[in-house]
């Protein structure tokens, strides 16, 4: 037990360090601007006096590391600064959008996870069968396809031709829960298709890898029934890779929402990020990048820790 706690402690420390470095990169990236933020906002025609004035207003006259710690400190109290474009509080802009994005990711995960694991298991158990090959070609094609292609095919078929679902996810904060589900169904389905392909292939690979290991061969040679091999020998060892696959793909999902949100004009954080990039609204881009990056890192960290916790070799040390 001691070894596990130590390992988890190490992972947590490493994760925390990564978070710090990443936040520093996200903050520092803006420092790379030729000139600085004040110059960038006012453009080439500005007089040196106005630039100096704005620099002072924005607090840019102080050293970068002090501003970095202020920024970090602000984030811990949910104060993310103000947008350059409309001078609104970023936390206010983000509030419902973050919820919407998580909502979308959650619906997609609920559909994708059971589907992917089921198909992955079947493909691994009936390896090299026609079913396995067909599903291999289908998933390979889905992975090779831009998300917006999948999205627009679904729009064309399920929104324009049949009219089952709305093509644009018109969602406001007071949309009722089931209505929200209904209106975000198409973007969720797009994400599900893309993520399922990845997740299913990874599950298949993990299970095949497992079934090839010596202890399974030993069990087979001992004459253990096939069902018992799967349930008693393979499954306890399969949790770690499966959990890993799921969490890694959830991390992928969080980032994959960006393109899908733009297609469906879904009012989430991805949409906000893309808008802010084209407006070059640096504080908002920084805030969104940070939230995406932190979610991604935390999910990866969770995958790491869960796979340590479910590893039979570590749980039953000799």
């Amino acid at each position: 037990m001691h070894a596990i706690i130590k390992m988890i402690g190490q992972r947590l420390a490493l994760g925390l360090l990564t978070l710090l470095v990443v936040s520093a990169i996200i903050f520092g990236a803006v420092e790379l601007l030729p000139g600085d933020l004040a110059q960038e906002i006012l453009g080439q025609g500005a007089t040196p006096e106005t630039v100096a004035q704005l620099r002072e207003d924005l607090g840019l006259d102080r050293p970068a590391y002090i501003r970095y710690f202020e920024w970090l400190g602000g984030i811990t109290t949910l104060d993310l600064g103000t947008s350059l474009a409309n001078e609104r509080e970023i936390s206010e802009l983000l509030g419902t959008r973050l919820y919407n994005t998580l909502f979308l990711a959650a619906i997609s995960a609920v559909m994708a996870v059971p589907l992917a694991i089921g198909l992955g298991l079947l493909a691994a158990l009936y390896r090299n069968s026609i079913f396995d090959r067909a599903i291999n070609i289908v998933t390979l094609s889905t992975i090779s396809t831009p998300e917006f292609f999948v999205a627009y095919i679904l729009v064309l078929w399920m929104a324009v031709i049949t009219g089952w679902f709305p093509a644009i996810s018109n969602i406001s904060p007071d949309t009722a829960f089931w209505d929200h589900v209904y209106r975000s169904f198409l973007p969720a389905l797009t994400l599900t298709l893309v993520v399922t392909a990845h997740m299913m292939r990874m599950t298949r690979a993990a299970i095949i890898n497992l079934l090839n290991s010596p202890f399974i061969e030993m069990a087979t040679l001992k004459g253990v029934a096939k069902r018992d091999i799967i349930v008693k020998h393979a499954l306890p060892n399969a949790w770690a890779p499966i959990i890993n696959v799921v969490v890694l793909n959830l991390a992928y999902l969080i980032v994959g929402v960006v393109v899908v949100e733009v297609v469906f004009v879904y009012p989430g954080m991805g949409q906000l990020l893309v808008d802010s990039v084209s407006k070059r609204d640096f504080p908002v881009v920084q805030a969104c990048s940070l939230i995406f990056a932190v979610t991604y890192i935390l999910l990866n960290l969770t995958a790491d820790i869960l796979s340590i916790l479910t590893n039979p070799r570590l749980l039953h040390p000799r």
């Binding site: 990564t18 990039v277 990056a293």
Partner: protein, 275 residues
């Protein structure tokens, strides 16, 4: 030559299909000027003209010929993706081999830097940097090439690690050969097969990534004909039940599927697996 031909003929149907598709794309990209009936930026009619004999696929949101733009897109979109992938490989392989050959603190330092860079999702990191440096073709290639060099670094380092401990590398070191000679002449030739396969896969990722950026309006800028932005610009047609805007997207998908098929076959060949 005969051997190669035999090998190509023994390819499974999927790989055969992939190679034919890739060849077609290359031909279209090279002979775009000959194939396209109109110029890339030429306005030939009204907006959103339906497909007729004059315009094979109709016209786009500015009245340019869709078919010609798709043909030119093969050159622009694919060309930039290839350049970017090459950059990612040059940078990634160089540092990967450097880390593997030198070992010690150089290896540690490069490894940790790559760990941190890979902790940030590529799309988010890409968007962040592009906000700052602005979206020009040059910046696009530089930024994406740099982002994708991290995974090339990991692979190059991992496979090179098995080679640098072999006797012939040791001999070259004792002979007093320089670092660049060892990297280029001793290690690199021995790790080529996995790198070639990786090149195909990375190309697909880079290609899809650029397409996504262009679709978001942050990649190749107008009036350059580019498949990602063509989908974006004409997407409104889809809501009228028109499927032409899907053609550039399908062109992207077809090429990545083709490359994946060929890479799959190549991996099979080089891994020496029979089944």
């Amino acid at each position: 030559m005969n051997e190669t031909w035999k090998l190509l003929k023994s390819a499974p149907p999927t790989a055969m299909f992939g190679m034919i598709v890739i060849l077609l794309y290359i031909l279209v990209a090279i002979f775009a000027d000959v194939i396209a009936p109109f110029g890339e930026r030429e306005i030939v009619g009204a907006q959103y003209e339906p497909a007729t004999e004059e315009w094979l696929l109709g016209t786009d949101n500015l009245g340019r010929d869709m078919w010609s733009r798709i043909v030119y897109g093969a050159r622009n979109t694919v060309g930039i993706a290839i350049l970017t992938t090459i950059l990612a490989f040059v940078v990634g392989c160089f540092f990967g081999l450097l880390a593997a050959t030198l070992g010690g603190w150089v290896d540690q330092l490069l490894g940790r830097i790559v760990d941190v860079l890979m902790a940030i999702p590529t799309l988010i990191f890409g968007l962040l940097i592009l906000t700052i440096v602005g979206t020009s073709v040059f910046n696009l290639i530089l930024v994406i090439g740099f982002l994708y060099s991290t995974s090339v670094f990991r692979l190059a380092r991992a496979v090179a690690m098995n080679v640098v401990v072999l006797d012939f590398v040791e001999v070259a070191k004792l002979r007093g050969e320089g670092l660049l000679y060892i990297i280029g002449k001793e290690v690199l030739p021995n790790i080529l097969p996995p790198l070639v396969a990786e090149f195909g896969l990375r190309f697909c990722f880079v290609f899809l990534f650029i397409a996504a950026l262009s679709f978001l309006g942050l990649g190749l800028q107008p009036p350059t004909a580019d498949w990602g932005s063509m989908v974006r610009d004409n997407a409104v047609l889809i809501t009228f039940g028109e499927s032409t805007p899907l053609i550039p997207a399908a062109a992207i998908a077809l090429l990545t599927v083709a490359v994946n098929f060929v890479v799959d076959w190549f991996l099979h060949l080089t891994s020496g697996l029979k089944d």
